[in-house]
Symmetry: C2
Subunit: 389 residues, 2 copies
């Protein structure tokens, strides 16, 4: 296992009604904030109406930025950063899912930077500081509420890039499972696929000597397998929503990554799909994951698939190893397609062969070629994409 630093100072306020504790956390550092949200669902589900009086009582002035896209765009970041500078705002409060939070993080960094927001995303201008970020989570999926990462799209250049900096770590995040009761069927399914994918990206790792982390990853995976379907059938099941919500944070706050260091394979391939076609991230991950597994299954990776099949899917350990591995992949695909109802092919989400070559070349970054669990070159990625058609 590799050396690592752990540091997650984000304060999590978990549970029903916890929004009441947020204004005091904000007020400790800011009296004027940018409130960021997406398409307006927070006005339909009551969160907006609950939040605004609380902020007012705490003496916090609010400027609003709405309309953050599902794959948040740098143009929206620019609008938000301009608002922060114009109104001399002191913090950013994201209310929404991962897109809104990601967008808010880069707004917070851009507001204090001379550089253009896209240059902060590409790394051309380094991030050094950011306004404090707070979040109210409304969808269990990306884990952005408890990490230092944001993913921003530039539709002019068909780029979707991740950027990280500890200054963008949320100061405090409200995780109220009841806020996900109104998350729709498709978003709940795609979010569950996202949590699973984050966990698998670390679970399939060259560093396989950190059994404790593998066991924690398996717990997150089994949680998704158990509660994803429950949340679909009973959207207001608190137990299911709460387990999924906390799983979303733990899957990607470092808990199951520390001590490993591999480049993430499926995310790199998926980012090309949503950059070119603007599809739902979780859909792309669910389509690609089983195909990626089929592509990398070999004698060298067999034991890891066996562990996965037995500990996550409960496959009989007495079966032949190859059979366990293949069955684990079948069960993974079956779960995404039949149980969660996510499209199983690229064609179903409107993706044909036209950009596969260029997307494969962009996905196969130097990191993917050198430090992925199984190195992936453009021809590997292309083969995986074609399996998914």
């Amino acid at each position: 296992m590799y050396n690592f630093n752990y540091h997650i100072p984000t304060k999590i306020l978990f549970g029903q009604g916890k929004i009441n504790e947020l204004p005091a956390e904000i007020k400790a550092v800011a009296s004027r904030i940018l409130l960021v949200y997406g398409g307006g669902s927070i006005k339909r589900n009551g969160i907006y109406d609950a939040l605004m009086p609380l902020l007012q009582e705490a003496g916090i002035e609010v400027v609003e930025l709405s309309g953050v896209e599902p794959n948040p765009r740098v143009t929206t970041v620019i609008r938000g950063a301009d608002l922060c500078r114009e109104h001399k705002l002191e913090a950013v409060l994201a209310v929404g899912g991962g897109s809104t939070i990601d967008c808010s993080k880069v707004i917070a960094a851009s507001a204090l930077s001379e550089g253009a927001p896209w240059d902060l995303v590409t790394g051309k201008t380094p991030i050094t500081t950011a306004l404090p970020v707070f979040t109210i989570l409304t969808a269990a999926a990306t884990g952005s509420e408890m990490n230092n990462t944001a993913v921003i799209s530039n539709m002019e250049t068909n780029d979707k890039l991740g950027v990280k900096h500890d200054a963008m770590l949320p100061r405090a995040s409200v995780l109220d499972p009841t806020y996900t009761y109104t998350t729709g069927h498709h978003q709940t399914a795609a979010g569950t696929a996202d949590i699973i994918s984050h966990t698998l990206e670390n679970y399939f790792s060259k560093a396989d000597d950190f059994t404790l982390l593998d066991g924690m990853a398996e717990a997150i995976l089994r949680t998704c397998i158990q509660y994803g379907p429950t949340a679909l059938k009973e959207p207001e099941n608190y137990e299911a929503r709460a387990n999924l919500m906390w799983a979303s944070s733990l899957a990607i706050n470092g808990s199951v990554r520390w001590g490993k260091a591999d480049a993430w394979s499926v995310h790199s391939m998926e980012h090309q799909l949503s950059a070119y076609y603007d599809i739902t991230h979780g859909d792309g991950l669910a389509i690609l994951t089983p195909a990626w597994m089929e592509h990398i299954l070999s004698d060298a990776t067999l034991d890891r698939f066996v562990r996965y099949g037995v500990n996550v899917w409960g496959i009989d350990p007495m079966l032949d190893k190859r059979e366990i591995a293949e069955r684990s992949i079948l069960m993974t695909r079956d779960f995404f397609v039949r149980t969660l109802g996510i499209p199983g092919t690229l064609r179903e989400v409107g993706i044909g062969e036209e950009h596969l070559q260029i997307m494969a070349e962009k996905a196969s970054t130097p990191a993917l070629q050198t430090s992925a669990y199984v190195p992936l070159f453009p021809e590997d990625v292309l083969a995986i994409y074609k399996r998914c058609l």
Copy 2:
């Protein structure tokens, strides 16, 4: 499940050689520190010789306090706090296991308080602030390196009490698994029992609707069961020491507790043993745990024991439930006594019947009577103690 707040700002520097990064963390807040350690093993195992030049290079002046007891005493806290005030020290660096770290935490709080140290422990004088605490961990056991808690003994009054405050949370902790290579056989065994006990205290909980946490707890327990014996046989096995070390932190930093709220049963009973007899904490926990399990096994708790037996000990789930439960307790005792070589009875650690009654009365706190997983009254505790003779 209950609402909870998560907040662990401690920075963990994990892995071989990570001590090199500590001086910069200290220097950011302090140039004059109290170095606290125990019986001098850090001089024999090379940590002291590695540390001192690093501190000197960073321009950090050091005053030393050595001789912290295995159950740290308030008299030592007083000496440390006096040194801090006398030399105007700005931080406390603990190098050792849980005892040294606990002692350092209360020194750090006492140095900035008008109240007597024992009054801070009993809560008579509230803790409001503390000098920054840093730690270099040399034993995987108590998890004190990543939480806000300390346990201090007063041998005059036969009291061993816990005290918590976020001001005592370590700012940064070095977890270098090689530093535990020289942890002796008995301390390695007792430390493993301690980690298991912390995990079980949360695992057996009235709130059984947080499956994700239960899965994580099971991962920690299986890690101890797998790597405890490995570390005993091969003290310099990095993989075993690293897994145990990180398990020690996760078992009691809140990761498997959030969302639950039960009072801890076995710890309350054990604290009386070490307060009256100064025995090793992990020994006491290992002796008491199986007896406590036997005492509380009933139709009401059966399902939890079945889950424990199947998921932690790998017992065949097709067996009769009662048999699974009883077998899980047998396997727990067997692991402590035969596999780890910890004494199995109170008499073996020099404890007879003389103080059982008074200890039972002190252990059965109001919290234990109202909010333990299964409420324990003095007669319950006495029965459990007697089972252990």
